[in-house]
C-alpha cells in the first residue's frame, strides 16, 4: 500500500445577485405603539439566514436592540415582492431593501421625537432604543414613548418601505456579448488550498485539509458567514470526490435513489477547514456586505484536482475524482499530445472524439 499526499490551490470570483440584475426585493416595516418593530419581507430562509441578517440590518439602521425586531417572511399577503433566495442575493439585495425601509422608519421616529422634544430632528439620533439629542445625551426620549405619542397623540402610523432594484443589463450585441450596463452587483473573490491523501492501489482520495480565504465584503454576522463557508466547503468536497447523479455518465444506469447510493458528504469525510475572511466592503451592499453563500462550494474541486496531481501525478478532469477515475488515470499514465506549440490534454473527451458532423472544437495555431 502506498499513500501519497499532495496540495493544490485555486482562486475564483463570483457575482453577488442575479446575473444581469433586474431582480427586485422589497420590504416594509411598521412600529408598534411600544416601539417594537415588525418587518415584513418575502425572502425565504432556506438556512441562509434571511430572518437573522435582515433583522440585524433593521435593528442597526434604526438604532434599536436586535430583540425588538420581529421578522415575518411567512406569506405573500403580508409581504411585498422579493424575487427570492438564490443567486447570493438575500443579504445583498433583500437586505438593502430592509435597510432602506429602516431608514424611513428612523426618519419618522426622529420627526415625531422632534415634535415631542421640541428639537430639530436633524439634531437627534437613535441609540439603543432611545432618541438622544446630539451632544446632550441626558436629553432623551425612548423610542417606545415616541411610538406611543405617534399612535395616541399624533394619530400617525410609523412605517417605512424600501425597494431595491438594479436595472436589467441587456445584451445589446449577441455576437459579442456586449451589455449596456454592469451585469453584476458586487463581485466576491476567494482562494483555496486543498491537501489530500491518495491511495495509489485503491485510488481512494481523502481530503485532509482545506484552507480558504474569502472576501466577504462585510461579515454582518461572522458566525453566520463561517457557517456558509464551512457548509460550502463540504459541498465542494462532495463535488470534488464524492457526488454524482450518474455514476456511469453519460449513461444513466445505476443512478442512486437513496443516501446509501448517492454519496453526500458525511461527518467522517470532514477535513480540517481553516477560514480567512477578508472584509473589502462592496460599494452598495448593506453595510458593505457581499453574497458569498453560493461561491462557497466553487474553489474546492479544482484545488482538490491539483492536489491529486501533486500526490500521484495524474490529472482527473471529470468530476467527481472517484477511486475508479484515479486508478484508470494511473493505469493510462496519459501524456498530452505535443505538436508544435500545442499541448493537448483529454483528446478522448472532446466533442471531436464523437463528432460525426461539423460540430468540432477548432483551435487556431
Amino acid at each position: 500500500m502506498a499513500k501519497h499526499t499532495g496540495r493544490g490551490i485555486a482562486a475564483i470570483e463570483y457575482p453577488t445577485g442575479m446575473n444581469q440584475n433586474g431582480d427586485p426585493s422589497q420590504c416594509w416595516i411598521k412600529v408598534k405603539p411600544d416601539g417594537r418593530i415588525d418587518v415584513f419581507a418575502g425572502t425565504a430562509d432556506i438556512g441562509n439566514g434571511s430572518k437573522t441578517i435582515q433583522s440585524q440590518i433593521v435593528a442597526e439602521t434604526i438604532g434599536v436592540p436586535y430583540d425588538w425586531i420581529t421578522y415575518d417572511n411567512s406569506n405573500t399577503d403580508s409581504s411585498p415582492v422579493c424575487t427570492g433566495t438564490f443567486a447570493s442575493r438575500a443579504t445583498f439585495v433583500a437586505g438593502k431593501a430592509a435597510e432602506k425601509a429602516a431608514l424611513q422608519v428612523k426618519q419618522k421616529i426622529l420627526e415625531i421625537a422632534g415634535k415631542e422634544m421640541e428639537i430639530d430632528p436633524a439634531d437627534l439620533e437613535i441609540v439603543d432604543g432611545e432618541v438622544i439629542a446630539k451632544g446632550a445625551p441626558q436629553t432623551k426620549l425612548g423610542v417606545g414613548d415616541v411610538a406611543a405619542a405617534a399612535t395616541w397623540g399624533h394619530g400617525e402610523l410609523i412605517t417605512g418601505t424600501g425597494a431595491q432594484l438594479k436595472p436589467y443589463a441587456a445584451i445589446i450585441d449577441p455576437e459579442t456579448g456586449e451589455v449596456d450596463l454592469p451585469p453584476h452587483s458586487a463581485i466576491s473573490y476567494a482562494s483555496c488550498a486543498a491537501e489530500v491523501e491518495v491511495d495509489d492501489e485503491t485510488g481512494e482520495v481523502r481530503v485532509t485539509r482545506l484552507q480558504q480565504c474569502y472576501d466577504v465584503g462585510r461579515a454582518l454576522n461572522p458566525s453566520h458567514v463561517e457557517g456558509q463557508i464551512e457548509g460550502g466547503a463540504m459541498m465542494g468536497l462532495g463535488l470534488g470526490i464524492l457526488e454524482n447523479c450518474y455514476p456511469y455518465y453519460p449513461s444513466v444506469e445505476h443512478r442512486g435513489g437513496a443516501f446509501g447510493s448517492y454519496l453526500a458528504p458525511g461527518m467522517e469525510d470532514m477535513p480540517q477547514i481553516d477560514t480567512i475572511m477578508i472584509e473589502n466592503p462592496s460599494a452598495d451592499g448593506p453595510y458593505g456586505a457581499k453574497g458569498i453563500g453560493e461561491m462557497a462550494n466553487n474553489p474546492q474541486p479544482p484545488a482538490i484536482a491539483a492536489a491529486v496531481y501533486d500526490a500521484v501525478g495524474v490529472w482527473v478532469t471529470e468530476l467527481p475524482i472517484t477511486p475508479e477515475r484515479v486508478l484508470r488515470a494511473l493505469e493510462a499514465k496519459a501524456e498530452p499530445t505535443r505538436e508544435g506549440k500545442k499541448v493537448v490534454f483529454d483528446e478522448e473527451l472532446s466533442v471531436n472524439a464523437v463528432s460525426s458532423g461539423g460540430m468540432r472544437f477548432e483551435v487556431p495555431a
Binding site: 496540495r7 432556506i46 409581504s79 433566495t85 451585469p183 480565504c213 460599494a283 479544482p302
Partner: protein, 456 residues
C-alpha cells in the same frame, strides 16, 4: 455598529433546537388528501394512451388530473422575461425523461393514492434517447424537440451564447504555448434534507392557501398564477421556512399541480415527494462539458482563450439559458484575458431536467479554468501562485463583456492563502495590490483591455 457585525444567534435558533420550527410537512390540516404522481417509466416515448377512468372511480379517490386540466400548459422558468417555454406542466403526447409527471391523483391515504396511480392506463411508444451531450450536440443526431437539440432563444433568436473580445487569432499566433483541455463536472443532486413538499388548502372565500417550501415565494406565486390563468391574489403562498434548498426549490415543482387537484377535489391536498423521487425525478445541477484552449507566453501571460461550453439542460430548458449566460460572463475566472472567443450551447438530452444550484453557471467555470491554470503553470514550469497573481483581475481590467472591475480582491485572497500555507513569494508578488496595472504588470497585450471604472 453594534448589531451588524456581531455574532448574533440565529433568529430561529431556539425554534430549531426545540422542534418548534414549522416546515411545510408539519402543517396538519384535518381531512387532507395525499397526492401521488404517475411518472414516465421511459427516458423518451410517445404517449399512445392515457385513460384515468378506473382510477377516478376508485372509492376514496377525489381527483385525477392530466394535461387537459391545465389552463396554460406551458409556462417556463424564464417566461416572465418574455422567453418562450418548452416544458408542459404535465406531459401531453410525449415524455422526454424518466420520471416526467403525466398525471396526478389525490386520495384519502398515501397507499390509496399509489394504488390509484397504478390503476391509470397508459401506453407508450418508446423513442431513442440521447444521454451523451456531445452526441446530442451533433447536428446529425435524432432530435429531442422538434426544433432540434439546441436551445434557440438567446438574444436575436440565436442558438448560441457568444462572447467575442479582442483579436483571438493574433493571440494564438503570438503565443509560445497553447494548452488545451476538457473539463466535465458531474450532475449533482441538491439533496436538501426536506424533500419537495407542498400542501394546498381551499379557503371559504375561494382562495387557495399554498404551504410551500419554495425558495422564492413571489416567483412561485407568479408561476402558479400563470399556469392557472388567475390573478395573483387568488393565492396566498405561505412559506419562508425551508428545509434546505441550494437552488432546487426555485423550480416550483409541486405547487401548481397540487392546486389543480384541490380545485377539482375541493379538499386540502398534500404532495410530499419521497426521497427516491427527490433523487430520481427532481432537477439536478447540470453536467457540463467545457473545452478550453489557452494561448500563453513562456513567462506566464495569458494572451487569449477559446472556449466551447455545452450545458446539459436535460429534457427541458428551465433556468439553463440563464445559467449559461452567467457562465459566459464569468468564463475567464478571476483573470484578465484580453482576447476571447466563447461559444456556449444549452443542449437538450433525455436526462432529468437540470436547474439552478449553488454557484449556478460558475462552479463549472471555477473547475475548468482553475484546473487548466494549474496545468498551464505545470507545463510552463511556473509557480501556480505567481502565475495567478500576474494575471489576476485588477482595478480597471475588464470583464468578458467589457465592464471594468472596480475593486477586485483576487490578489489579496491569493496572497492570504500563500501565507497560510507557508508559500514564500518573491517580494514583488508579496507586495502586489489590486491597483490599476502599470509598468511590468501592464504589458502591451493588456493595454487595450483596460477600461474605465467611472460610473460603475
Amino acid at each position: 455598529m453594534k448589531v451588524v457585525g456581531a455574532r448574533i444567534p440565529r433568529y430561529d435558533g431556539v425554534a430549531h433546537v426545540t422542534g418548534r420550527t414549522t416546515y411545510v410537512d408539519d402543517v396538519s390540516v384535518p381531512g387532507t388528501l395525499w397526492a401521488k404522481a404517475l411518472r414516465s417509466p421511459h427516458h423518451h416515448a410517445g404517449i399512445t394512451k392515457l385513460d384515468t377512468s378506473k382510477a377516478e372511480s376508485m372509492p376514496g379517490v377525489h381527483a385525477v388530473i392530466t394535461w387537459k386540466d391545465v389552463p396554460l400548459l406551458e409556462y417556463g422558468h424564464l417566461s416572465a422575461l418574455g422567453i418562450p417555454a418548452d416544458e408542459p406542466l404535465l406531459a401531453k403526447d410525449e415524455v422526454r425523461y424518466l420520471g416526467q409527471p403525466i398525471a396526478l391523483v389525490a386520495a384519502e391515504s398515501e397507499a390509496l393514492a399509489s394504488a390509484a396511480v397504478d390503476a391509470i392506463e397508459v401506453g407508450f411508444e418508446e423513442r431513442p434517447a440521447l444521454f451523451d451531450i456531445r452526441q446530442a450536440f451533433d447536428s446529425e443526431s435524432p432530435k429531442i424537440h422538434q426544433w432540434g437539440n439546441w436551445y434557440p432563444h438567446f438574444e436575436g433568436e440565436m442558438d448560441v451564447r457568444q462572447i467575442r473580445k479582442g483579436d483571438i487569432d493574433r493571440a494564438f499566433e503570438e503565443a509560445d504555448t497553447i494548452v488545451q483541455g476538457v473539463y466535465r463536472p458531474a450532475a449533482i443532486e441538491h439533496a436538501p434534507i426536506e424533500t419537495q413538499v407542498c400542501q394546498v388548502v381551499p379557503e371559504p372565500n375561494g382562495r387557495l392557501t399554498i404551504y410551500s417550501c419554495t425558495q422564492a415565494l413571489y416567483f412561485s406565486l407568479g408561476v402558479v398564477a400563470a399556469h392557472l390563468q388567475q390573478p395573483l391574489n387568488r393565492f396566498k403562498l405561505v412559506g419562508g421556512t425551508t428545509g434546505g434548498g441550494f437552488g432546487g426549490k426555485v423550480d416550483t415543482a409541486t405547487e401548481t399541480m397540487t392546486c389543480l387537484l384541490v380545485m377539482k377535489a375541493n379538499k386540502p391536498v398534500k404532495w410530499r415527494w419521497t426521497r427516491e423521487e427527490e433523487f430520481l425525478c427532481s432537477s439536478t445541477r447540470a453536467p457540463w462539458h467545457m473545452e478550453l484552449a489557452t494561448a500563453v507566453t513562456k513567462d506566464g501571460w495569458i494572451l487569449g482563450q477559446k472556449m466551447l461550453t455545452l450545458h446539459d439542460s436535460g429534457a427541458y430548458s428551465r433556468f439553463s439559458p440563464y445559467g449559461l449566460t452567467k457562465h459566459s460572463f464569468h468564463h475567464t475566472g478571476a483573470y484578465s484575458i484580453p482576447n476571447l472567443h466563447f461559444d456556449g450551447y444549452v443542449v437538450y438530452t433525455n436526462r432529468t431536467p437540470t436547474t439552478a444550484m449553488r454557484g449556478f453557471g460558475v462552479t463549472s467555470v471555477s473547475f475548468a479554468v482553475e484546473t487548466h491554470m494549474n496545468r498551464i503553470a505545470n507545463e510552463l514550469g511556473l509557480d501556480p501562485i505567481e502565475i495567478r497573481l500576474k494575471n489576476a483581475n485588477r482595478i480597471g481590467d475588464t470583464s468578458p463583456n467589457g465592464i471594468a472591475y472596480t475593486d477586485p480582491s483576487t490578489v489579496e485572497t491569493i496572497q492570504a492563502i500563500a501565507q497560510a500555507i507557508g508559500h514564500e513569494l518573491p517580494a514583488d508578488y508579496r507586495t502586489m495590490t489590486n491597483e490599476p496595472r502599470t509598468g511590468e504588470l501592464l504589458p502591451e497585450h493588456l493595454v487595450s483591455q483596460v477600461g474605465s471604472t467611472e460610473g460603475h
